[in-house]
Symmetry: none
Subunit: 188 residues, 2 copies
DNA sequence: CCACAAATTCCAATATACAGGAATATTCAG
DNA sequence: CTGAATATTCCTGTATATTGGAATTTGTGG
């Protein structure tokens, strides 16, 4: 088996710098020496699994993500793409009590997506299970929500955040006498 | 960081036997010695990443599956995690004109993260470049924003969405005479 | 049961992972 | 610009990952 293992070093260094950590700080967090970290980042050493594991914990990254080595997706033109409020795509429920404004770009479909949800009194957003492992994170901008995930029910207050598995039947219901507005992130 | 790395040995042996391979055969397929394989399976050695990589290739298994990150039954508790508004972590600028509320969970650090931004009049959020390819998506809940990305400047109106590269110096400034409130998604 | 082949583990030598101190490079403030 | 502080790399010694041959264990057929 002559398949070359992917280079971890550059990615580890990127993660470290993004978190504004020095080698010393990461060494302290991970229990791996500064020297070793430096060698790993420059691909001058081949870390053992235990060392790698400690690094993933300290950097809060999955080992598969580390191995996957984010491809440097070249960004498009350095432009700012602005969409006015009335051009943001909306989905409205048949009873008109629930409006979904799609905030994430088209290319986000199937990955992390985000929406603004507007629920009139008695309005609800009821969803079938998403893919295995999917999680939803809802932030209440105004009003109050009842959150249903599988057989579990909870209340999310104004300005609060709720996180729940979305790979089971789930729903958001307006508990407020007025309109409830929330920000929903769907992470797959 | 004293978190024990998961035991790989028993799982590797299970995979080998399931494929009806002897240590000799797997050694031949993977380029790892019989002795080493034996030691790894009995958790008597801590393999380097390169060795582990060769093993995953020979056994046709993802490293994450081997680690057992997701292969096992997911956490059974389909709990809804609710955080009240006053428990959401906040970062405030020194001048007090900008507040960042961290909405995404801790494990999202380094991946897609999301925040609520509160800018008082004349308040601004100024950021150094993130990793290559990083994009930001801001949705204006109320007020109005000036968006700066590199040398490009644009206005994001109320209820509008702006998307821009965040791998260059970038900033958000409040253009409203009152408070501006927005959601920011940082996608890496 | 025994004999033999196959499979696994033990053993010792070599290469390298790894740590911590020292040297060097980089950054920052005046 | 300079000097000091900080961050990273170099260096060396120790521990262990790794190999291939030898010894031991296991499995199978007669």
């Amino acid at each position: 088996m002559t398949d070359e293992a992917p280079l971890l070093g550059p990615h580890i260094q990127q993660l470290r710098k993004r978190r504004r950590l020095t080698l010393e700080q990461l060494a302290s967090l991970s229990g791996v020496s500064r020297s070793m970290l430096s060698q790993i980042e420059r691909s001058q050493a081949n870390p053992t699994f235990a060392t790698l594991w400690n690094l993933t914990k300290a950097l809060s990254v999955d080992i598969s993500e580390l191995v996957g080595g984010r491809a440097n997706t070249p960004p498009a033109a350095p432009a700012i793409d602005v969409v006015g409020g009335h051009f943001v795509p909306e989905i409205r429920s048949e009873d008109g009590l629930c409006t979904l404004r799609i905030l994430s770009p088209a290319q986000s479909v199937g990955r992390t997506e985000w929406y603004e949800i507007l629920l009139e009194p008695n309005g609800a957003l009821v969803s079938a299970p998403h893919a295995a492992g999917a999680m939803e994170h809802v932030t209440v901008i105004e009003g109050e929500l009842e959150v249903v995930s599988g057989a579990t029910v909870a209340r999310a207050p104004a300005h609060g955040v709720a996180r729940y598995p979305a790979d089971v039947p789930h729903a958001l219901r307006n508990l407020s006498p007025g309109r409830t507005r929330a920000f929903l992130v769907v992470a797959n």
